[in-house]
C-alpha cells in the first residue's frame, strides 16, 4: 500500500462556477489503477466526483481520461507508474546543480545554480521537492465536459464515427449463408477491428486541436476497417470522399499522439496512412488538398535526386508536372502564390541564397554511383504491387545465425 495524491480537474455546470482543481489523498497498492484511486476518493471523500466506468478491465472503453496530460483509460494505467511519471516531470522543474558530479536525484536538495544562478526562491517546486508529485487527472480533450471527468462523446466522437458510414456496403444481394473470405485478406483490418470506441485517440489528436472539423483518428481507423474489407463494394467511393474532404485523410499531421493514446493497439495514424496508400492505388489522385500530389512528388524526387529538393517539392506538390506536360490543378497557382512570401523572406535573410534552394530542379544529385543505387532500390521495391502486411512481428532472437527455413514472409510468397 502507498499513499498517492490525485489532482483532479472538477467541473459542475449546475454550480455556475468555473472548473477548478481538487486534491484527494488515496491509499492503495501501486499495481492498482488510477481508476481504482478515483473510485476510492469517490467512496471515502466525495461521492459527487463524477467518472464514467464499467468493466475496469480495458474492455468497455468507458473511462477515457487524461493522466499527467496523456490520454488513456483510467483502468489501464497503474497508479504506481502514473506516480513515477509525475515525479519525473516535477523533478525537471527544479534547477539541478551545475557541473556537479553526482547524478541529480528527485528529492535531493536543490543547491541552486552555482555562481551564475538566478533566484530559485520563487519556484514552488523546490519547497515540494521532497514531497511526491500529484497525479494530474483531467477529462478527455477535444470534447465538451459534462461533469468532472465525464465528457460528451456524442458531439464529437460519435458524430465523426457516423460520418464515415461505419457499416459494410457489400456487392449485390447478400449470399444465402455467410460471406466467405480468405483469412489472410482480413489480416490488414484486424488492428482497426480492435477499437473499443473509448475516444482516447480523439482526446489526444493534435490536428483536431487546430481543426475541430478534422474527421479524426477513431473515425478514420473505422473507415479503414471497411476500406480494407474484401466484402465491401464502395472502396473507391469511400476513399474519394475521405481524400477530397479538406478535413479528411490529408488533415492528419502525423504526430503519433493517437498511437500512444490507444489502449488497444489500433494505431489509428497507421490506418490513416493505409487509407492514403489505398487512395493512391485506387487512382484517387486528384484531391484538391494536394495530398496525393505531395506523396507522388516526394517519392519521384528522391528517386531522381536522392535527397529533398525543397523548391521542387513546393512546386510539384501544388501542381504536379507543372514543369513538364500537365497543367496545374485548381488551387495550385493559389497555393504556390501563398508560399511566395515565405520564399522571398528566406532569400532576404540569406537562408536560401544559393540557386539550388530556390529554383526547382537545380538541386544536386547524390555523388558517385549513389543515385543509381537509390534507383535500383526503387526498381526492386516498386515491383511488388500488393499491399504488404508489414506489421512488426516481434523480436527474432536468432539474428547471428542464417535462417534458410524462414519463408513465411507475406512479401516473398
Amino acid at each position: 500500500m502507498a499513499e498517492y495524491t490525485l489532482k483532479v480537474r472538477r467541473y459542475q455546470p449546475e454550480s455556475g462556477q468555473a472548473a477548478y482543481w481538487e486534491e484527494f489523498k488515496v491509499d492503495l497498492d501501486p499495481s492498482l489503477s488510477v481508476l481504482d484511486g478515483l473510485l476510492q476518493a469517490k467512496d471515502r471523500d466525495d461521492g459527487s466526483l463524477a467518472v464514467r466506468c464499467s468493466c475496469r478491465a480495458a474492455i468497455c472503453g468507458s473511462c477515457g481520461m487524461k493522466v499527467n496530460g496523456s490520454s488513456t483509460l483510467g483502468c489501464k494505467t497503474q497508479i504506481g507508474e502514473a506516480h513515477e511519471q509525475a515525479n519525473r516531470r516535477q523533478k525537471e522543474d527544479v534547477p539541478p546543480p551545475m557541473g556537479a558530479d553526482e547524478e541529480y536525484k528527485p528529492g535531493s536538495a536543490a543547491p541552486g545554480r552555482g555562481s551564475n544562478g538566478g533566484s530559485i526562491s520563487d519556484s514552488p517546486a523546490v519547497a515540494g521537492a521532497e514531497e511526491a508529485a500529484p497525479i494530474v487527472i483531467e477529462p478527455m480533450g477535444n470534447m465538451p465536459v459534462i461533469k468532472d471527468l465525464i465528457t460528451d462523446m456524442e458531439s464529437t466522437h460519435w458524430t465523426k464515427i457516423r460520418r464515415v458510414t461505419p457499416w459494410l456496403l457489400p456487392h449485390g444481394e447478400a449470399p444465402e449463408r455467410e460471406y466467405v473470405v480468405e483469412p489472410e485478406s482480413m489480416i490488414d483490418i484486424t488492428q482497426s477491428m480492435a477499437c473499443i470506441q473509448c475516444g482516447a485517440c480523439v482526446s489526444s489528436c493534435l490536428s483536431m486541436e487546430a481543426d475541430p472539423d478534422f474527421i479524426g483518428p477513431a473515425a478514420l481507423a473505422k473507415a479503414y476497417r471497411f476500406v480494407g474489407d474484401p466484402r465491401d463494394a464502395e472502396t473507391k467511393e469511400r476513399l474519394h470522399d475521405l481524400a477530397h474532404d479538406p478535413h479528411g485523410i490529408y488533415d492528419c499531421t502525423h504526430c503519433f499522439s493517437c498511437i500512444d493514446a490507444c489502449p488497444k493497439g489500433v494505431a489509428p495514424m497507421d490506418q490513416i496512412m493505409r487509407l492514403r496508400r489505398a487512395a493512391a492505388e485506387e487512382g484517387v489522385d486528384d484531391d484538391p488538398n494536394n495530398g496525393a500530389n505531395h506523396v507522388t512528388a516526394f517519392v519521384r524526387m528522391i528517386e531522381k535526386k536522392g535527397t529533398n529538393d525543397e523548391a521542387l517539392l513546393v512546386q510539384e506538390s501544388h501542381a504536379l508536372g507543372l514543369k513538364g506536360k500537365l497543367k496545374p490543378s485548381k488551387g495550385a497557382i493559389e497555393g504556390l502564390l501563398k508560399s511566395l512570401p515565405t520564399v522571398l523572406r528566406a532569400i532576404k535573410t540569406g537562408k536560401a541564397r544559393s540557386p539550388s534552394k530556390v529554383i526547382p530542379g537545380v538541386h544536386p544529385k547524390l555523388p558517385g554511383g549513389s543515385q543509381d543505387e537509390v534507383r535500383a532500390i526503387y526498381r526492386h521495391a516498386e515491383e511488388h504491387r500488393e499491399e504488404f502486411n508489414l506489421y512488426i512481428k516481434g523480436e527474432d532472437e536468432d539474428f547471428v545465425e542464417p535462417e534458410p527455413d524462414e519463408t513465411d514472409m507475406e512479401e516473398t510468397a
Binding site: N116, N289, I302
Partner: protein, 299 residues
C-alpha cells in the same frame, strides 16, 4: 568521440545554419563527424506512405553505409530519427525480411546487420545526454545562458511512439531538452506546446491547420515569457521560424519569437558568436536573444 553523421536533407537545404552550427559545435565539443555524403533521404514517413518496403530499403542503405564506418550513427533531425527508427524496428524484428532487403543492398556491396558492433542511430540530443554526458557538457560551458528563458520544442518524432523510440530504456528522453537548457545555464519555460506538433507535415495539404498549430505554440511560449524556443528538428524550425509571419496571420496576433536549433543554443553557451552560428539567417529575429545574452536587456 567519433560518429557516422547523417545531416539529413533540410540541414543542407533551407536550414543550412543547422548544418554549419552542428559542425562548429562538434569541433568545440571534441566530437569528430564522418559525414555520410552518399546516404539518401529518410523518406520522412512520406515514402512509407507510398511503399513501406521502399522506405525500409532506403534507410537500410543508410544504416549499412554507417556500419561500413564501424561507428555509431548520429542524426540531427527529429523527423529522420522517427522515420529511421520505424524502419529499423521493422528490419530488426524479422530476419527473413532483413535478408530480402539485403538482397538489393548486396548488389551495391552493402549489408545491414542487426546489432553490428552495437549499432545505434541517435539524434544529437540523445547523444549529448546519454553518451557525451551532461557533466562533460557543463564543463565546456564558457558563456552560461544566464537569464535566458528558453522554451523546449521537441518535434513529434522523438517523443512518440514511446514504445518504438527506446523510452523503456531511456524514460526521460522527453525531458532532455529541459536538462540541456539547465546545464547550459538557461531557464526552462514551461508552456503547453513543448511536445505537440508544429504542423509542418500538412503545410502543403491544409495550410490553416498547419500554421494554426505553429502559431499557437509560438504564442503560448511568448505568453509564458520565453525569450526563444529551441528545437532538435529542422522541420519544426521551418514551421516555427520560416513560416512564423504567416502563422501570425492565421492566429491573428503578433508573434516574433526566435527559434534556435539545438546546436545553436549549445554553441552560444560554448562561447560561439551568433553570426558564426548562422542566426542571422533566421526569419524570426534573434536580436532579442543576443541582447539578453549581452546583458543589455533587463529581465
Amino acid at each position: 568521440m567519433k560518429l557516422a553523421y547523417w545531416p539529413g536533407c533540410v540541414s543542407r537545404g533551407f536550414t543550412t545554419e543547422l548544418h554549419g552550427s552542428m559542425a562548429l559545435v562538434a569541433e568545440r565539443l571534441g566530437i569528430e563527424l564522418v559525414e555520410l555524403d552518399r546516404a539518401n533521404c529518410c523518406g520522412a514517413g512520406i515514402i512509407a506512405e507510398h511503399n513501406q518496403e521502399l522506405a525500409d530499403t532506403l534507410n537500410a542503405r543508410t544504416f549499412a553505409l554507417a556500419q561500413q564506418t564501424g561507428l555509431a550513427m548520429m542524426n540531427i533531425c527529429s523527423t529522420c530519427q522517427g522515420a529511421q527508427s520505424e524502419c529499423q524496428q521493422r528490419l530488426d524484428a524479422d530476419s527473413a525480411y532483413r535478408a530480402h532487403i539485403n538482397e538489393v543492398l548486396s548488389g551495391q556491396g552493402l549489408e545491414y546487420v542487426k546489432g553490428k558492433d552495437g549499432f545505434t542511430n541517435k539524434n544529437f540530443l540523445w547523444l549529448l545526454v546519454e553518451d557525451y554526458g551532461l557533466d562533460k557538457l557543463a564543463e565546456q560551458v564558457k558563456r552560461p545562458l544566464t537569464g535566458l528563458r528558453v522554451g523546449p520544442f521537441y518535434g513529434c518524432y522523438v517523443v512518440r511512439p514511446k514504445e518504438r523510440l527506446g523510452y523503456d530504456e531511456f524514460p526521460e528522453r522527453d525531458l532532455y531538452l529541459e536538462k540541456v537548457i539547465e546545464v547550459l545555464g538557461g531557464e526552462v519555460v514551461e508552456y503547453d506546446g513543448a511536445r505537440k506538433c508544429c504542423g509542418f507535415p500538412v503545410i502543403m495539404m491544409n495550410r490553416d491547420t498547419s500554421l494554426r498549430q505553429a502559431g499557437t505554440h509560438v504564442g503560448d511560449a511568448l505568453d509564458a515569457g520565453a525569450d526563444c524556443l529551441v528545437t532538435p528538428c529542422p522541420l519544426c524550425h521551418l514551421n516555427l521560424d520560416m513560416q512564423q509571419p504567416e502563422a501570425a496571420k492565421v492566429v491573428n496576433r503578433d508573434l516574433g519569437l526566435a527559434v534556435l536549433h539545438l546546436p545553436q543554443l549549445v554553441g552560444l553557451a560554448l562561447g560561439a558568436e551568433p553570426k558564426e552560428l548562422g542566426m542571422s539567417k533566421h526569419i524570426a529575429s534573434t536580436k532579442w536573444v543576443e541582447e539578453r545574452l549581452a546583458g543589455g536587456v533587463p529581465a
